[in-house]
């Protein structure tokens, strides 16, 4: 194989990794605070992708308007999921919490099928490519990557330098203690779910540049997103960021060397093996 393909795959892996990191950080943020894995997280992304699609294709909105609007849609979805599903079962057994969001997954997939059929729909954006040393970099990947890096920087600043952001980090370390500081846990949960939902909305916009949306879109990225979060250490934001790029590189390079599915298989097997070696994630401190 021409090594140029490998280089190209590696670059595509980095570009994909940025968007995956947005997904993983959103899910991980929610996990860190609420201790619940939203199994249906990427299905919310799917819903937001439909929203973006209809704004752009149906109503002819500019991408620059539809993008932020999708972000808001995501945040509202996040709040709705928290208030309707998570809030009533906050003290239930973990398995019930997992299953409730699993039920949401079935619901979203079939409701989307009901409303919009299983047709694939894509936002047709014609953007040019740049060529650097024989490697073509399509703007449909470069722009989402750049935006995702900026978004993660914004998330970092939010968590580091705002009161509520610091409180979110504090709650993820000790729920009760934060209540003793006077923070209403429910309010922190809602804010966290909104931020996590907004990340889903952002990811939806960025993914719409490259992928068409269909009701089962979640299956494509859902399990991968969980793996990334676990690989990085559940609740560990830096770990999730690093793991996103590790996984996307494996998928991209495995994809050109074998097949797309084999790329995923290798990534998942690597994930399983790493879990045995470092059960707390790649960046976990050894006890």
């Amino acid at each position: 194989m021409d090594p140029i393909f490998l280089v190209e795959a590696a670059i595509n892996g980095i570009l994909l990794g940025g968007v995956l990191a947005v997904l993983a950080l959103g899910l991980n943020l929610i996990f860190g605070v609420l201790d619940i894995v939203w199994i249906a997280y990427v299905d919310l992304v799917m819903l937001a992708m439909y929203a973006f699609y209809f704004m752009v294709q149906g109503h002819g909105w500019s991408v620059w308007v539809a993008g932020p609007a999708t972000l808001v849609v995501g945040a509202l979805l996040g709040i709705a999921v928290h208030l309707l599903i998570i809030s009533p079962i906050l003290t239930s057994a973990p398995i019930n919490q997992l299953l409730a969001t699993g039920g949401l997954l079935f619901f979203l997939q079939s409701f989307a099928t009901f409303l919009w059929t299983t047709d694939h729909r894509s936002v047709r954006l014609s953007l040019p490519s740049v060529e650097i040393g024989g490697i073509f970099l399509p703007f449909t990947r470069v722009i989402p990557f750049a935006i995702s890096i900026l978004a993660m920087l914004a998330l970092y600043l939010f968590l580091r330098h705002t009161y509520i952001g610091t409180a979110i980090r504090a709650v993820s370390q000790d729920r009760d203690a934060m209540a003793l500081m006077g923070a209403n846990p429910q309010r922190v949960y809602v804010v966290t779910s909104a931020v996590g939902g907004a990340m889903a909305g952002l990811a939806a916009t960025l993914l719409s540049f490259q992928y068409s949306v269909h009701p089962f879109f979640g299956g494509q990225f859902g399990p991968l997103t969980f793996m990334i979060c676990v690989l990085g250490g559940l609740g560990n934001m830096v770990g999730a960021f690093v793991a996103s790029f590790v996984m996307s590189e494996i998928i991209a390079i495995g994809g050109v060397m074998f097949s797309t599915e084999m790329g995923y298989v290798i990534a998942f097997v690597v994930f399983i093996v790493v879990m045995f070696a470092r059960p707390g994630g790649i960046l976990a401190r050894r006890e």
């Binding site: 610091t166 000790d174 009760d176 203690a177 209540a179 500081m181």
Partner: protein
């Protein structure tokens, strides 16, 4: 200032407190002593709203607080320094203190409170940028107390402040608590180190298997024969 009237509380099928009553007057320092599992920590958690009471009343400065949740009770001026310190290990010392001043009124007085806490505990000022989890046990306890002071409370609940500290550190800590008291705070403290704590407080309650067995002035309690034998190792 604080009145706990015939409070009953527990977890699941287990009742940890039976009809417990106690009062703390403004400016007082009061201790609750007793053996492991007597319900001391539960009592603190009931007062700060972490554990709901099943019966009885809780009144603070004339305002009934029964049934309020933890985050609402802080706003009334009660700060709880929980057992095991419960600082945020991944946050810096400064961020921990910032979280202490989470409520809007406390946030407005943040600068002032911070100076005051750094004045009381200079070591926290030195370590302000350090991760709280990397502090020593004694420093963590100071941080936990400092964090509670940031909310500008009137009453401070201290749950087992000396737990897990080296003997030398215990002395220093009790000294510091004395200084906190001198600043005008009212203190309710739960301790296993009975001998030390009785030197610190004005009055004390003896809690055994969920009931108040005895109460009185600290000197009085420390003179009781069975207290000396059972809790002070004399």
């Amino acid at each position: 200032m604080l009145e706990v009237r015939r409070v009953t509380a527990g977890y699941g099928a287990f009742t940890a407190l039976w009809d417990v009553s106690l009062t703390v007057a403004a400016g007082e320092a009061v201790a609750v002593v007793g053996p492991n599992g007597a319900g001391k920590t539960t009592l603190m958690r009931v007062i700060s709203g972490l554990v709901p009471s099943r019966g009885g009343e809780l009144v603070f400065e004339g305002t009934p607080l029964t049934g309020r949740r933890a985050h609402q009770i802080v706003a009334h001026g009660i700060a709880h320094v929980p057992e095991g310190r419960r600082i945020f290990p991944g946050l810096t010392v400064a961020e921990n203190l910032k979280m202490g001043a989470f409520l809007p009124p406390a946030r407005r007085a943040y600068r002032q409170s911070l100076e005051r806490v750094y004045g009381l505990f200079p070591v926290l000022a030195e370590r302000r940028a350090q991760r709280a989890g990397s502090l020593s046990g004694g420093e963590q306890q100071m941080l936990a107390i400092g964090r509670a002071l940031m909310s500008r409370p009137k009453l401070i609940l201290l749950d087992e402040p000396s737990m897990g500290l080296a003997p030398v550190m215990v002395f220093r800590l009790f000294d510091l608590i004395r200084r906190v008291r001198a600043e005008g705070y009212t203190i309710l403290v739960v301790e296993q180190n009975v001998r030390q704590v009785l030197k610190l407080v004005d009055r004390a309650y003896l809690l055994e298997v969920g009931r108040i067995r005895m109460e009185g002035r600290a000197e009085l309690l420390s003179e009781q024969d069975f207290v000396r034998k059972a809790y002070m190792g004399l």
